[in-house]
């Protein structure tokens, strides 16, 4: 395997470059996935049947907290990649753990939010609106959950294998994924919650 030392570690082999490009293409597909969910949500947002509307059930505090947690985690994973490029394995590790903890915090708030919704009579089966809302949020939440497990695997490999081109490549791709989830959340935050409460 040819290693090109003029490039950052995560790009150093041809396979690594392909992995990164392939993942970008996958993110293109993810954009369409969420666009479709958003289309469904916007179509169904006023079709609440006998159930509550968005303005009835959304609460600003947990939503703002969730946003802060996710934005910060996006920042820390950026720092992790920066540390990785400096070759500072220890700092990278710390930032990675921090990112996952923030992600976990986000997820627990979201779980709380879901329980709350069900509790106040806005369950999955209540109306077309709640189905679209919970599916959109749930898909994002499932992505975050998957990301946390994925991140754990990477931390493990960082510990056992060190900062090899392969591990660096995986970490970089993970960071792309995590930033992307942040972008999706921004749109959920703006066009689901804030628009709904406006």
């Amino acid at each position: 395997m040819k290693i090109n030392h003029s490039l950052p570690l995560e790009y150093s082999t041809h396979q690594n470059q392909m992995n990164i490009l392939g993942f970008w293409v996958f993110l293109g597909a993810e954009i369409m996935l969420f666009a479709t969910l958003f289309s469904g949500y916007f179509t169904l947002v006023n079709r609440t049947g006998n159930g509550p509307t968005g303005a009835d059930i959304f609460e600003i505090t947990p939503i703002l907290l969730e946003t802060m947690l996710l934005l910060t985690s996006s920042f820390t994973i950026g720092l992790a990649i920066h540390a990785m490029r400096l070759g500072n394995k220890k700092a990278m590790n710390v930032y990675f753990v921090l990112t996952l903890l923030l992600g976990l915090g986000f997820l627990s708030l979201e779980v709380y939010e879901f329980i709350h919704y069900v509790h106040i009579g806005a369950g999955l089966q209540t109306s077309a609106f709640t189905a679209a809302l919970l599916t959109l949020l749930g898909t994002h939440g499932a992505h975050v959950t998957f990301g946390i497990f994925w991140g754990l695997f990477i931390i493990g490999q960082l510990k056992s294998r060190g900062l090899t081109p392969e591990v660096a490549n995986k970490s970089f791709i993970f960071s792309l994924y995590w930033h992307f989830l942040d972008v999706v959340w921004i749109f959920i935050f703006s066009f689901v919650y804030l628009k709904g409460m406006m």
């Binding site: 041809h14 470059q17 392909m18 597909a29 479709t36 179509t43 109306s127 189905a131």
Partner: protein
């Protein structure tokens, strides 16, 4: 016993019991045969665990041919039922099941693997690569597709076939109107194979962007590779829409949500909307690779370069974008206002333009070419007029005001068969004849091939032209029978004769494969058609590393240049070659996906959870695995090359 009752067929008939027995016997025969001839190890090593794009391509090809016969059997049943008025061959429920599986199987499990077969086999060869970018993902794509296909194919013997049409419109497809688990099968089979297709899309795009031979810029790629690139771009952006639509539909059926219901705010039209946002690009996903194959064949057998290469590429890129802008023309009659329908009418007219450009490019390529009529060329030449009939009637359907007259009649059915059969099926058959020597090292018999081409094309006209007339006369699609007084009888009888002709044609193709396998000469060159692009520059059949030396390219017709213009295609000497290792994980993971889908179809939650965990274990295993591939030594390459040259 109660547990097993759910697997019973809700609507049995002797034909289904006979199929059950036949499936059982076939499985026993395959298992017994493999054991008797001690082929299990061979099967596992060479096929089930392979990551070689060529083997995967051949598996796609075999699946496509098998599914062609499954879908074809359905087609014959449809036409037989409609051949005479008031026929009692099938009842309404069976007829629904048969036309549903006919459409689903033909589009998703016949046409898709057919194009995948050629993209997998040919694209890496055309760009001078050793394999695709992610060989193991490629194997996973295939096996996911395969398991999806198996899922839909066991539906009619376990639990019941889907019966809501291949479009599976809600509210018809909800639990109230489709009580059997058939529609669940539809949802999960499409979901699983759709995942595989999406992965292929990502894989092929990366392959084409990053693995081209030195000197091959984007505008020097062979046209089939261009068509594959554009197709895969459409795949990547269209399939997620289907994924979401299927998730919503599944949730409506299994978890009683209200996306597509008529209560609590649900809106059934949203399904149609999502389905066609995926469905219309899907049409172009199928037809563009076929266009690519036609371009290769027409240019090869006209003995000249493709006319208007740049406009070909440009029109494909325009099609890739416009294909996402026309979906509403599938439901003009759903009640949107004149403005919405007009917008989509105009985009629909617009997309006919780049397609027209391509037709003229082929005609100009033929102009003053040294035309050689082979079977592949014959299919390509027959395609142009027949496809034009389909295309022009499509423009008729695209006018929203007029569409109210044609919608849901046999006119529509005639239109899309006239597009898809010449556009896709002829293209794939042409590709089959054209690339067969590359894949297997001998040429399919030309005489049988040409007879078949004529039989298939004339039968296509015979089978589908009458539907234009009966459709304009008011015969609705998806009706299991009609009365004698309607006067549709004669048209449908002609169609039935055409359908039999098509069946004969497809049987002849299989006979041709059998005949040529036995009798055709193996003594052919690696370039039997005097072709132009890189896939013909290596041996037939292709060694596992494709090219002993990476080719250098300076134009779209690299091989032609090396044959006639003193271009040095393979500079340098042998070097060791890096190849990926085989892996059983894709196959095992896909088997788990099959069990996962099956559990969900029947709402068996404990196995569903276990298989979900199984899927994640496989993913985790992949993450932790260290697999850096292997090298083929220079000595090995030399030996293989000497042997293949027959020195």
């Amino acid at each position: 016993m109660e547990f097993f009752e759910r697997f019973a067929i809700p609507h049995p008939s002797p034909a289904i019991y006979a199929s059950m027995v036949a499936i059982g016997l076939t499985v026993i025969a395959i298992v017994a045969g493999l054991t008797y001839f001690k082929k299990w190890g061979y099967l596992w090593r060479e096929w089930l665990t392979t990551v070689d794009h060529k083997h995967i391509g051949i598996m796609y090809l075999i699946s496509a041919l098998l599914m062609l016969f499954r879908g074809g059997a359905d087609a014959i049943m449809i036409r037989a039922q409609l051949a005479v008025p008031d026929n009692k061959l099938l009842d309404a429920q069976h007829y629904n099941e048969v036309f549903t599986t006919h459409g689903t199987v033909m589009i998703i499990f016949m046409a898709m693997p057919f194009i995948m077969a050629f993209m997998n086999y040919i694209v890496p060869l055309q760009i001078g690569a050793r394999d695709v970018a992610f060989p193991r993902l490629n194997a996973l794509s295939f096996w996911l597709f395969f398991m999806g296909a198996m899922l839909i194919n066991i539906s009619f013997v376990i639990g019941g076939s889907p019966d809501a049409g291949w479009t599976s419109y809600f509210p018809l497809a909800n639990n109230e109107f489709s009580e059997s688990v058939g529609t669940n099968y539809y949802m999960f089979a499409l979901q699983i194979s759709g995942l595989g297709t999406l992965m292929t899309g990502i894989n092929m795009i990366t392959t084409i962007l990053k693995m081209r031979a030195p000197g091959m810029t984007l505008m020097k790629m062979p046209i089939f590779t261009w068509s594959a690139l554009v197709t895969n771009i459409i795949i990547v952006f269209a399939f997620p829409v289907l994924t979401v639509a299927l998730i919503m539909g599944t949730m409506d059926r299994l978890f009683a949500t209200n996306f597509f219901t008529s209560t609590n705010g649900g809106i059934d039209m949203l399904w149609a909307n999502f389905f066609w946002i995926w469905g219309h690009p899907e049409v172009y996903i199928l037809v563009l690779p076929a266009f690519g194959i036609y371009s290769e064949i027409i240019s090869t057998f006209s003995g000249r370069n493709l006319y208007g290469y740049k406009s070909m590429v440009g029109s494909m890129l325009i099609i890739s974008f416009l294909s996402f802008l026309v979906w509403t023309h599938h439901f003009f009659t759903m009640g949107q206002g004149a403005l919405t329908n007009s917008i989509f009418s105009i985009t629909t007219m617009a997309i006919a333009v780049p397609t027209g450009v391509k037709i003229f490019n082929w005609l100009f390529t033929l102009w003053r070419g040294k035309i050689v009529i082979t079977t592949a060329m014959l299919y390509s030449l027959l395609f142009i007029p027949i496809f034009t009939i389909g295309g022009v009637t499509g423009v008729m359907l695209g006018m929203s005001a007029a569409d109210y007259q044609y919608h849901n009649t046999m006119f529509l059915v005639a239109h899309f068969h006239m597009v898809i059969i010449p556009g896709v099926v002829f293209g794939m058959l042409a590709g089959l004849h054209y690339y067969w020597p590359k894949m297997f090292g001998f040429i399919l018999d030309e005489k049988i091939g040409k007879w078949t081409a004529w039989i298939i094309s004339m039968s296509t006209l015979l089978a589908f032209m009458p539907m234009f007339f009966s459709g304009l006369d008011g015969q609705a699609r998806r009706m299991y029978t009609y009365s004698e007084s309607t006067g549709f009888g004669i048209w449908n009888m002609i169609s039935f004769i055409g359908a039999i002709g098509l069946a004969i044609g497809f049987v002849l193709i299989v006979y041709n494969i059998y005949y040529s396998t036995r009798y055709a000469s193996r003594d052919i060159s690696s370039d039997p058609w005097d072709a132009r692009s890189l896939e013909w520059a290596t041996h037939s059949p292709v060694p596992e590393y494709n090219f002993a030396i990476v080719p250098h390219v300076t134009s779209t017709d690299a091989l032609w240049d090396s044959k006639y213009n003193n271009h040095v295609l393979f500079p340098g000497k042998y070097e060791k070659i890096h190849m990926p290792n085989n892996s059983g994980i894709p196959f095992i993971l896909s088997c788990i996906f099959f069990a996962w889908g099956f559990s969900f179809v029947f709402g068996m939650w404990i196995p569903a959870i276990i298989t979900t965990i199984g899927i994640f274990i496989c993913l985790g295993h992949r993450s932790l695995e260290k697999d850096y591939g292997r090298y083929i030594s220079v000595k090995e390459i030399e030996e293989t090359e000497t042997k293949l040259r027959g020195v």
